[in-house]
């Protein structure tokens, strides 16, 4: 009888070109590399300097997302880039993709968008694969049962040249979530709760597998939200075993297997589950019923609390520093804090169901006077789908800005930033100091909380609006 293996071990074992030894890491085969303009230019320079080519152009998909403006081109077709450098960086990827013969979803492609939105959307993200990208939120693709993780630019070059990476085998952490989520509680609240529980370094050195009835009941978009933020707990990858939900979501996607190939693929994918009795290096158990709508109140995603709570007391000088930066006082309620900007978007929460969720509260209402709200769809496809449903009209009628797809205000590389001191309630993934502009304060939240906050002009509980509607 074979030793029971975890899902991670099954994927790891099936991609070993050479196992690790004391003197050298394992050589791990990579099925798919995703590229964007920010972390790839120096990798292509390295290839040129060494006279190398891309080993498997068919296993590379590139797009433009980080440095791209989210305002449309002007009458002369000029795009409002934040800087000459940003424009050159985009042009550099366009040039590199041409020179090395790579698939680029650039301007004009119906599939341009945030790299972690378009991979699944195209169906190039598939169960059992190894997927890398020069981007820490590559963990998103783990929602499909793929081993997906972020790498640096040097490694981007390694994969371009050899389709392989040198890796030490990470440890495994199982996070079991059991039970039903309460009304008004979603995937974002769940993952924020998890990070609050295990800490921003709780997953360091580990690949997380999310398991249990709560996880199984999540939609694919919700699973992507959960896996996306694995890195915020320090874990490089998050995994969820593929199931009927996964297969139904992928079926018929442009690049998913078709016909008899599909049936064979699904048969193979069904084996991608941790065996009974498989051992993890660490395990955590979470009761779904205990999770409340949650937001961050500090300067890392582990400083998280229920929306209805008071600002927790600082446990140490570091936390006090964070509270001072956030201009929050321990013991005061989090709800009611005045907000300047609301951002709905990012690889965490920019997919169609996220936009529907935000729109459900905004429909027929106006956002608060003086508040600015940006809604940035994750991809051209999401934008098109949302517009077909009229969501753009809902957002615009409510007073929000409906933008072009991209990473936008999540990291503010494209000039979508706040002013020093402003408070942004954001559906993105990082509330680091200055992440959304120097001196800007960030509160991470779900699309529902973001929408409620936009209406109130203050941090607000979506359940209050739902109750009002029912009354």
């Amino acid at each position: 009888m074979t030793t029971p293996r975890t899902l991670f071990e099954k994927i790891w074992d099936s991609h070993l070109v050479a196992p690790e030894s004391a003197s050298a890491p394992a050589i791990l085969y990579i099925d798919l590399q995703l590229l964007h303009e920010v972390t790839s230019p120096q990798a292509f320079d390295e290839l040129r300097a060494r006279g190398l080519t891309v080993r498997r152009p068919d296993r590379v998909v590139a797009t433009l997302d980080h440095s791209t403006p989210t305002l449309p081109p002007d009458a002369d077709g000029r795009r409002p880039y934040a800087s000459v450098e940003a424009e050159q960086q985009v042009a550099t990827l366009e040039r590199n993709a041409r020179e090395f013969g790579l698939e680029l979803h650039g301007w004009g492609s119906a599939h341009r968008g945030i790299v972690h939105v378009i991979g699944p959307e195209l169906g190039v993200t598939q169960p059992g694969m190894t997927i890398v990208c020069g981007d820490s939120h590559t963990s998103t693709h783990g929602a499909f049962g793929a081993l997906a993780f972020g790498i640096g630019t040097t490694e981007v070059g390694h994969v371009l040249a050899t389709q392989c990476l040198l890796q030490r085998k990470p440890r495994t952490l199982a996070i079991h979530v059991e039970g039903e989520l309460r009304p008004g509680v979603g995937a974002k609240d769940l993952i924020l709760h998890v990070i609050g529980r295990i800490g921003v370094n709780g997953g360091t050195g580990h690949v997380v597998e999310y398991r249990g009835s709560t996880i199984e009941a999540l939609s694919m978009e919700e699973r992507m939200t959960v896996c996306n933020m694995s890195i915020e707990a320090g874990a490089r990858a998050g995994l969820i075993a593929p199931d009927e939900t996964t297969f139904a979501w992928l079926k018929g996607r442009e690049r998913a297997p078709q016909g008899a190939d599909w049936d064979r693929a699904v048969e193979r994918w069904r084996t991608l589950r941790s065996d009974d009795g498989a051992r993890y290096d660490a395990e955590v158990r979470i009761d779904a019923a205990a999770i409340e709508p949650s937001i961050t109140y500090g300067t890392h995603p582990g400083m998280v609390a229920p929306l209805a709570a008071k600002v927790p007391a600082a446990a140490n000088a570091q936390e006090q520093r964070a509270l001072d930066y956030m201009q929050l006082e321990a013991g005061r309620p989090l709800a009611g804090t005045p907000v300047d900007i609301v951002f709905v978007g990012s690889c965490t929460n920019s997919r169609l169901p996220d936009l529907r969720e935000a729109a459900s509260l905004l429909r027929g209402r106006r956002i608060a006077d003086g508040l600015r709200m940006l809604v940035v769809p994750g991809s051209e496809q999401v934008k098109l789908d949302a517009e077909r449903e009229g969501l753009h009209d809902v957002f615009r009628a409510a007073g929000a800005e409906w933008r072009e797809p991209g990473c936008s205000m999540c990291l503010g590389m494209n000039g979508d930033i706040g002013k020093p001191g402003q408070l942004i309630v954001s559906t993105s993934n990082r509330n680091f100091e200055g992440r959304q502009g120097p001196g800007v304060r960030t509160v991470l939240a779900s699309p529902l909380v973001a929408a409620a906050t936009a209406l109130a002009g203050r941090i607000a509980d979506p359940r209050d609006f739902a109750a009002q509607e029912a009354a």
Binding site: S136, G150, T154, E155, P438
Partner: protein, 193 residues
């Protein structure tokens, strides 16, 4: 990459926990298409005030910290994004070693590929290093030791392969390229299956 065999340098201390990659290099500096020249962006929003002048209170700007090549940082240094711009900026500025009680995975991997030694020391040793900024250390990569001013030693763990790459000043790509046949065989076996 520049070999790193031995390093004699003073330390500069940033005691804060969870210093993230946005702190190390803010995103607006990531539009570069080069590896070099990022030293000016290092810890930018801590190092400079809004008017662009140096913030004299920031540890790296103090006269005694000039030329320090070893950074002692609070726990979980380098968390956040995968931007290799973080170690590029450190190396360009002149920091060749980062010591902490915990270092984020991707940052550590990126640092070691750029001749920046990123290693973990014990909690007690970390605490002591945090409490003694500006001391002279002698790092010996081959031996895996850090010599303290009093002659005492701190030992650190380092993956054997990463150690050899640092000592030789070579990156890992050459090693991978030498396995081209094994990679081709792997691809063929999979496609046949």
């Amino acid at each position: 990459m520049k070999p790193l065999v031995k390093l004699h340098s003073r330390t500069v201390v940033l005691p804060f926990e969870n210093i993230d990659t946005d702190r190390i290099v803010p995103a607006r500096f990531l539009t570069t298409t080069e590896r070099s020249g990022l030293g000016r962006a290092l810890f930018h929003d801590w190092r400079y005030r809004e008017d662009g002048s140096e913030n004299p209170d920031f540890a790296l700007n103090r006269p005694e910290a000039k030329g320090a090549g070893i950074l002692v940082a609070g726990r979980n240094f380098g968390c956040g994004s995968s931007r290799e711009h973080a170690p590029w900026a450190l190396a360009d500025y002149g920091i060749r070693a980062v010591l902490s009680s915990e270092i984020a995975d991707i940052f550590r991997s990126n640092a070691l590929k750029n001749g920046v030694l990123a290693v973990v020391v014990s909690e007690a040793e970390h605490r002591w290093l945090l409490d003694h900024p500006g001391i002279e250390l002698a790092v010996d990569v081959a031996a895996g030791t850090i010599e303290l001013p009093d002659g005492g030693h701190i030992r650190f763990e380092l993956d054997a392969f990463a150690r050899q790459c640092l000592l030789d000043g070579v990156d890992q790509l050459g090693f991978l390229l030498r396995h081209a046949e094994a990679i081709a065989a792997f691809e063929q076996a999979r496609e046949a299956a």
